[in-house]
Symmetry: C2
Subunit: 424 residues, 2 copies
């Protein structure tokens, strides 16, 4: 399947990237200093179009933010997150030096600053107040289309080749390839679910269906996988047919809320981020409705140490409707139905490593991507991948795997030793 050059889903108002010719004003220079202050004085250099430079905590700094013109500067002041993201994408902002290092410095410094905000900072935060979206059935479909229907070919360029897992891998050994780490992730989840041959599994949100095929092939289970991305379902069904797994795996183009039937296992890897916190109890009711009396459930999701809003730029340009929950919020799924949480594991640094692998492949295949999308898209995607690495590295984002079962089920595993078979 070959896709022609697509219109970028990141339709930004183009800003000229040529340098502004006039010198910066005294007020503009004052504003740069305030911007640095509100960001907690990170150890970066800011360079304006007239080559005037400014520093946060240290001088010289290892990374530089190059603001090429007034329009980009105004965007940045108006909304730090969206302004930075959009102007980076269109090239009117540039970062010199390591992008992950630059973003880590900004994120960490901003977090420190937000712990003791001045009144000015508080005002600034309020003026750029963020809100979370609500996900209706129709809205979810639109949101998911935005991201996942960019084309299977695009994702196949930089995800693992075997299973096309667009979720955190598990580096059981630090030198694993991304293919090995994704297989290890799937096996880790299967062990947590204690899959037995002949069991039935329902999967909520299946991406390109790689995990369903992995379970069917390696654990002898029957899987039904739900997903609302049309392109992914078409791809997944075709792959299952080609691998002779059509009898064992069924991909259903429908919302998780429409799951029917009873299953030994409920699993959802990387869907919760798109569910919307106001729907967590509904998700719990779906699990309650479809899980057998001695069933196991696992939800794998990006999360937070404490409730917080999504990055507005990521939310607007990359993942509409996405929200990474805190553990407290995940409890809305289980508490109303007397589910018992058996195990929560945080794999934060594994996601940073996963993203590094993705970014490396993305960079290797940049020319191929350029035939599909415009330059703006490539820059946006590069920022998204680098920014995600930085978020997991500084601890703005977590990765939780939560295992749960019915509260009265005493057939639960006694220890977690079975998750760690002796090394080969």
């Amino acid at each position: 399947m070959s896709l022609g050059k697509q219109t970028s889903p990141l339709t930004l108002t183009a800003v000229a990237t040529r340098k502004e010719s006039s010198a910066s004003t005294g007020f503009e220079r004052y504003l740069v200093r305030k911007l640095l202050e509100f960001t907690g004085d990170p150890s970066i250099e800011i360079r304006l179009w007239d080559d005037s430079v400014f520093y946060g905590a240290e001088k010289p700094a290892r990374t530089t933010l190059d603001i090429k013109n007034r329009a980009a500067f105004r965007s940045l002041l108006k909304n730090r997150e969206i302004g930075f993201g959009d102007r980076f994408s269109d090239g009117s902002l540039e970062v010199h030096g390591d992008l992950v290092e630059f973003l880590c410095e900004i994120y960490a410094s901003q977090k420190r600053a937000s712990q003791n905000p001045s009144w000015q900072m508080r005002l600034f935060e309020r003026l750029t107040k963020r809100t979370a979206k609500s996900n209706t059935l129709a809205g979810s479909k639109l949101n998911i289309h935005h991201h996942y229907d960019l084309g299977n070919e695009f994702y196949s360029l930089w995800l693992d080749r075997d299973a096309m897992q667009y979720t955190c891998a598990y580096f059981a050994r630090p030198d694993y390839t991304i293919e090995q780490a994704q297989a290890a992730k799937m096996d880790h989840v299967c062990r947590k679910l204690m899959l037995q041959p002949g069991q039935t599994v329902v999967e909520a949100g299946c991406g390109w269906g790689g995990f369903a095929r992995h379970m069917a092939k390696n654990y002898g289970v029957q899987v039904k996988s739900y997903n609302i991305s049309h392109q992914q379902i078409v791809y997944a069904t075709e792959r299952a047919r080609a691998e002779g797994l059509s009898e064992q795996v069924e991909y259903i183009e429908d919302d998780y809320r429409n799951i029917t039937g009873e299953y030994d296992v409920f699993v959802s890897v990387g869907m919760l981020e798109h569910v919307g916190i106001q729907n967590y109890e509904v998700l719990g009711s779906v699990v309650d409705r479809c899980l057998a009396k001695q069933g196991r459930a696992l939800i794998h999701s990006i999360g937070r140490n404490a409730p917080d809003l999504m990055s507005t730029w990521i939310e607007k340009r990359i993942f509409p409707g996405a929200y990474p929950p805190a553990i407290r919020e995940m409890m809305n799924i289980v508490e109303p139905f007397n589910f018992s949480v058996l195990d929560i594991e945080n794999l934060r640094l594994h996601y940073a490593e996963t993203l590094r692998h993705w970014l490396a492949r993305f960079n290797e295949n940049e020319d191929v991507v350029r035939n599909m999308f415009d330059e703006q898209f490539i820059r946006a995607w590069r920022l998204y991948l680098n920014g995600s690495i930085a978020s997991f590295l500084v601890g703005s984002l977590q990765l939780f795997q939560m295992v749960f079962a019915r509260g009265e089920d005493n057939s639960i595993a006694s220890t977690r030793e079975h998750l760690y078979p002796a090394a080969d």
Copy 2:
């Protein structure tokens, strides 16, 4: 150390246990049926003083509640939990058949019923509304004294002999003795904390100090342990001296809120239940204040699947001020300080097993206990141990071990494999 016969801390108004001679009235029989209904019609038999019998769901039932007189019946109607506990303790209520089985049936049936309460049940619940206590520094001291200062000799009769651990053991192998399982628990916690020789540990709530001595002896760390029970501190200090560990372990008779210094590790096993939910943020601030930048923290506590109040009888007679939190509530400890939860494990069934071991020893030593306390105390304690087994078996109670570290700490373990060294 030998203790004379003590006044029971359970000072109940004595109720005659002789059988009432008059027959039950029609209204009383109506009330028995309502009592069964409000409890969700459990599969038990209720027998009144005039030998009239009543059944819940099934007839015949495997266990019988024998109500010996009107006063006991009235207590039961007035407050199911306290009435049952107090009248069981004084012998005017008796259970025939297996006590754990009887209690499991009641708890499970009550839980099912409370999911779809009738208006009458709701009224009944409201009339016997329960509230949680607040723990001030002085109040905590009183509460803890009530339970833990019953005498070291009393506890040594039925806890494990090596370390006197009055907390959930870990049955890494199902045939472990209680001594092996408590050692396994301590090692499991030490592995989660990744203890290294020379590290400093602060322990909040140390019981008789067994875990502190275990860490010092087996992991070469320096430990400071805080506890507000005078008798326990005296015992712990003496044991450390006798074992030549005085240089490594210091027991401090003080509240966890007064912890000073900086440590590589913060650990608290079985104290959170007594902290009071309104103090969780204070506890978090103590950890934040005393934990090194790359420090590890672990809190081990009885918990719940969802927020709920403590059994009023246990709260009144056994553990004043105790409260088992839901995971959601435990987040109050970590969220305000940007701690990152790395691992939560639920060891619910291990606590049922631990309690079975304790109960067996308690029963074996009943005659010795009888020389210390009155019959009422013995019956109350037996109910407490059996009731706790039942609570963990039906899933009313959970046992959580939560590991956390600072949000920006990237020195965290990559996997949990180190918790499961290959079997010997």
